[in-house]
């Protein structure tokens, strides 16, 4: 579209006069002359006018003339002015159409505007026309700005989604392809250590041991990274998930840790929520698993509860474990961040990163409230209304 021309048209009440391309649907040449004069008298430099009286010539004029505004009489001998609007719509053209007509009566005039005419000007009130045209062009200009902004935004969102997808793909491919050579290192250092233990010197056994352990640890890291990238790749399939029955599964998969630690787990007010069952189970398993793992010397007492707040469910998992000092409260959700020596508490620091990714992809938030030495409460939210319109 001729953005600058329109811009000039709307900005000027003074010189230079804006140039305007008009398409007139009018059978009366005297009326046409009056309309053009009204525009010219009032600050519009009407650059080109084409006057048509029927559908065929109207369609042709749209192509050859590229009008910025259509001024149409309501009644024509062989056509109806309002049909010009139908054609503009059909051709997907955003050109303001103003009825310039003899008295139509209020009811009909309102009906025309309801159907999409921009405005209605009486032939004996043509002094209003320039202002009406100016406003119509202004509105069109604003519409086009808004449209452009929406398009830009959609394009940005699209680019962002693509670059995210690329990154996910990269993490997946990198971690998958890294596994192959690493498998060789791990297998052969292991073979070396089994076959040549005690046959070289003591240092050799130690060195091979380090290499072998390192390779095995890296394998676990890569598997964790794959698991983390999979959260982004697999599409969440949301269903109505009964958290009480889900907790039974979680208890089963954590059975040995629960039994070993003697953990007491209580559930309060667990609802059904609209979420991906597998991922929700992963979140609960990680949080409860951590509550058991970081229990310190006490018998672990863990409570899981949920409450309705605003537009989401607020879940909390509270334990009486070793707690986290507030300075680390953010760090723990970052991939591979650990607060303890591996010998003290095993693990790679992937669990909470996966929880965060799952919860945030579902439109929720996750955080921790804790003090070192006095237990932790992990909280997360799940929106009632999911992104795809489902409800809890």
């Amino acid at each position: 579209m001729s953005g600058t021309a329109v811009k000039l048209a709307i900005e000027s009440s003074a010189v230079p006069k804006p140039k305007l391309r008009v398409l007139l649907v009018e059978d009366n040449s005297l009326d046409a002359e009056l309309v053009i004069r009204a525009l010219r008298k009032n600050s519009f430099d009407v650059e080109a006018v084409m006057i048509v009286q029927d559908e065929d010539s109207f369609i042709e004029a749209l192509g050859t003339h590229s009008p910025e505004v259509v001024l149409a009489d309501y009644n024509l001998p062989n056509w109806k002015g309002m049909e010009a609007l139908t054609i503009l719509r059909r051709q997907n053209l955003d050109i303001p159409m103003i009825l310039v007509s003899g008295a139509l009566g209020d009811v009909l005039a309102v009906e025309c505007i309801r159907q999409g005419a921009t405005d209605y000007v009486l032939k004996d009130g043509l002094a209003r026309l320039p202002e009406v045209v100016r406003r119509a062009l202004q509105e069109k200009y604003e519409r086009s700005l808004r449209h452009q902004a929406e398009k830009d935004l959609a394009k940005k969102a699209d680019e962002l989604a693509r670059s995210n997808a690329d990154l996910e793909q990269f993490a997946y491919v990198a971690s998958h392809d890294l596994q192959e050579p690493l498998r060789m290192v791990a297998s052969y250092t292991q073979l070396l250590s089994e076959r040549y233990r005690g046959k070289l010197d003591e240092n050799a056994d130690k060195f091979i041991g380090y290499a072998s352990e390192g390779a095995l640890r890296m394998q676990v890291l890569i598997q964790d990274l794959l698991a983390f990238s999979r959260v982004g790749r697999a599409n969440a399939t949301c269903t109505n998930v009964d958290c009480k029955s889900l907790m039974e599964e979680v208890r089963k998969s954590l059975a040995s840790a629960i039994q070993e630690s003697g953990a007491v787990i209580t559930e309060t007010n667990l609802p059904s929520v609209w979420t991906d069952r597998t991922q929700m189970s992963q979140v609960l398993q990680n949080l409860i698993g951590n509550a058991i793992k970081f229990r310190g010397k006490k018998l672990p007492i863990i409570s899981i509860r949920a409450e309705k707040t605003g537009e989401h469910w607020l879940f909390s998992v509270t334990d009486n474990g070793i707690g986290i000092s507030s300075e680390f409260a953010e760090n723990i959700f970052v991939v591979f961040q650990r607060l303890h020596a591996r010998t003290e508490y095993p693990g790679n620091g992937i669990g909470l990163a996966i929880c965060k990714k799952i919860i945030e992809r579902g439109g929720g938030k996750i955080w921790v409230e804790s003090q070192a030495g006095s237990g932790s409460t992990f909280k997360f939210t799940i929106p009632f209304q999911s992104a795809n319109g489902g409800k809890t």
């Binding site: 596994q179 192959e180 498998r183 791990a186 297998s187 292991q190 073979l191 089994e194 095995l216 394998q219």
Partner: protein, 145 residues
Amino acid sequence: MKSVRQLLIVDDNPADVTLAREALEVCASGCQISSVEDGVEALAFLDRREKYANAVRPDLVILDLNLPKRGGLAVLAAMKAGPDLRRIPVIIFSTSKLNQDVVRSYELGANCYVCKPGNLTEFFAAMKSIEQFWFGAATLPPRGE
């Protein structure tokens, strides 16, 4: 008299072939192992063409999926389309855990899909159980000479 069992390993990674040979060095069936490194070679071996004119027909094929020239699935499909070769059991032995690879393999007539373990002990255990099952428990079709 029972003739010696013949195993063909199709894998482009010589380190994996060596591991497999190590695993089966001492095994009940005392099977003989041949190996080729890509899909084209594998089919030439099975069809006894060119330099493989005197190759022995394998009783079992262990087939990697990610192979140069012709991939494992293409080799599998070609084998299962051959009137004689289709009788030879094929074990897919791959690092891939992707559902699509597993499903496609079985659809094409693989007899078994085993993921290559990353850990030596498990790798040896997997090779040994393949050998024990297919050359021990299972009855294989007679060699159609």
